[in-house]
Symmetry: D2
Subunit: 253 residues, 4 copies
């Protein structure tokens, strides 16, 4: 039985994580951490409810699921590692430097874990396949489509995808970007990235590959954030075997 | 029986036009114009073969199909109108000014005709539908995809599509384009246009509309230029009824 | 100012309709009908709350919006027409016979209205465009994709789309369906219809047209039912001008 | 320098293979086999031209490329193996039994080779990715789209894809196919397969995966048969290292 604490248990992702755990026969929710927990939160009596890190003592847990805030995630993860609780981090905002620090600490503590900026299985598989296809189809472009309210463009996932493709091209494509139309998109490591922002859309990404007389297209659609839970479930199944603190759900695919 | 002359009969489009006419029971090829005609061109004996405009005399024809060159098309069309032959022009390169001049001459000669920059039915319908959808879905983006050798971006059709959409929006969309990423595409009248250039691709265009909780997508694919002949066939069916010289295949849809 | 009563005001669609009306400057919610209204429903004080048809008296309203049940919709619509309230019916379940009866009554009462089985603008436009494209591309197939829980296949909208296409083909396509694989779909009036049922999907429909060397594809995606409100808004804008009781949102596009 | 014989060198695929070899700096065309070779076939003088298997003697070659006919391919492949020439077979029509026989002979002769029913890289990658995705998304459907003249449905590749997906599902999906509409497609090992047949289309395949709140779509388009040469090129690069006679281009990806 895997004993689990959920940090950020009252947020929208945290609530879904709690529900997920309750449906896994080999998982047990032993504690939650949520600063602004309402008095009427109806967790089972056996579940310990903490309002801050400092309140936690005598906690025995195997896995620390974190869906909190960029401000809290570093201290939380450090705390988990130091207390021999394997971190399963879905909160974004960790800097490269912080991640290196946490990985070092995990190594010292001889404990594994997972930091996953994106728990969407379809997005993670898309990146994996794009990387692989790039070896055979060096010519690729990325189109991501999001709701009109998304402020940044391109999306972090699209940029990451472009970089992965570029890194796996057998030969670099020479995209001369000088005096080109903006219609040709933003160039990341030689891969044009296009961003569509329209109401109604949720979160979607396409990678288009073209070769002599043929084309290959990979597409993923995230219709709602419930999709993240498939990735969390997969992570729960494999986290106990991870020998170190890894970054990216694709590491366990 | 519609008597037809094909100018540019030895070019790839001209050859297809000749074949098309031979398959129409109500059409008859009476002459061809082709400067560099090989001696062994096997047109039927009854077909008059001209090498230049100056050679043409005593020609009785109803329709002048033109698939020649930007350098020749204006003089050809003028000649046709002056000789009471209805022009059906597939050659690109006429300037706005030349078109106005030709339309005036057609009016004087009381003759109709058609100048069609794009004879692809799917492309023309896409533009027509996009225009109509814009009244209900003001938020739209255009993505066109072409083979890697296409030098210009975006395609003329994509720009035309964006302008049609913008003209039919009930209210203009305020796209603030300042300090935006190039990933957001080139802005035409408020409509972002994205251009993909990949080997293998032929000529494709998509229009994406988004609204509250829903999306509408129009897409056309041109796999090869034989597709133009459906448009030429349609034009042949309607050209005798046109009261003036119109521009755009959509005018007869 | 259009005075409006919403029947089924406590259901999910009805609630959205109420919200929509409150955001229209030329509309006023004057009454609601909802059998199982909670005592704490917070409608404005001026709004009359009825629990059954029999409770309604002295009501002055212009438009009757109905998102109730198949069991209630006929009596409601009849009541509305008899009381000179224009029906705007989003409830499904009316039989062809009932609709004929209601249209006759509306004629007697010299009142117009709208029965719309589908208020999704993208779906309605898709059907309209498909119908139009069928005149130029007689070869078409329909693919609809829905969540895995949808029991019936194909969807009513897909069947309606196929019939519209068939009715607009200049010549019928001879699809010999004998001893064909089930992979070729269900044949409706010569148009193959394919149904995909997968978890994650919501409600999507595609129409594929193919012609010599080219293809045209129409696609609509309904991501959630909030999309219906764009159609209701459009209906509200035009319903006062309708001279009779019409069926289908496309009638006012 | 790899010495190569092309069997079926005058067919459309064979001609492309010859051209490909001429463009590879590490390959040399040493012979061709073509029963109906025209006297004016302009192969280089050094290339030996055979009209039948019996004519071949004293041939030193490393690779036997075969784009012949179902009637000839088995004898050809056997001959190649027996003469220590590695077979690279693009001809379809070998039965399972014949393949087993050839693999046994290759083992005896201690020689490797490749039988590839499909040399399209995009199709092969699609199958590979579909297989992998099935482990995470057990719910899948296949849609293939071909030109209207294709007689069989579904395509062999689509059936193969469905079987690969089924073989990789962690748990079988229980598709109850009784009294279901034909719109739900043909069921292969639990995976519905849909076939679209439309003029204009060439050869296209999609795999749709759905999971909680998300979807993953893989699509490949073959616009013309020139696409096969990318696969042949890849095979040429790896065939000398193959320890046995393998089936499927994916074995060397």
């Amino acid at each position: 039985m895997k004993k689990i604490i959920v940090a950020g248990a009252t947020g929208s992702m945290g609530q879904q994580a709690v529900k997920l755990i309750e449906n896994q026969s080999d998982c047990e929710l032993v504690a939650v951490l949520a600063p602004n927990m309402a008095s009427n939160s109806n967790f089972k009596q056996a579940v310990k409810c903490y309002k801050s890190l400092r309140d936690i003592n005598n906690l025995t847990a195997d896995i620390w699921i974190d869906f909190t805030t960029p401000a809290a995630v570093f201290e939380n993860t450090k705390f988990a590692i130091e207390h021999q609780i394997r971190p399963l981090i879905g909160t974004s905002g960790l800097t490269t430097e912080q991640i290196t620090q946490l990985q070092k600490k995990a190594q010292e503590q001889k404990i594994g874990g997972l930091i996953a900026p994106n728990f969407g299985l379809s997005a993670v598989l898309l990146m994996k396949f794009a990387q692989e296809a790039a070896r055979y189809f060096p010519d690729a472009e990325v189109i991501e489509m999001h709701h009109a309210d998304k402020l940044d463009a391109p999306s972090a996932t699209a940029i990451a995808t472009a970089r992965l493709i570029a890194a796996n091209q057998e030969q670099a494509i020479d995209q001369n970007s000088s005096n080109e139309s903006r219609a040709r998109g933003e160039n990341y490591a030689g891969i044009p990235v296009h961003s569509v922002r329209l109401p109604g859309y949720v979160a979607h990404e396409q990678v288009l590959f073209g070769g002599l007389g043929e084309a290959l297209t990979l597409r993923q659609d995230s219709f709602d954030r419930s999709s993240f839970m498939s990735g969390v479930k997969l992570a729960l199944e494999h986290i106990m075997e991870l020998p170190e603190l890894v970054v990216g759900l694709e590491k366990i695919l």
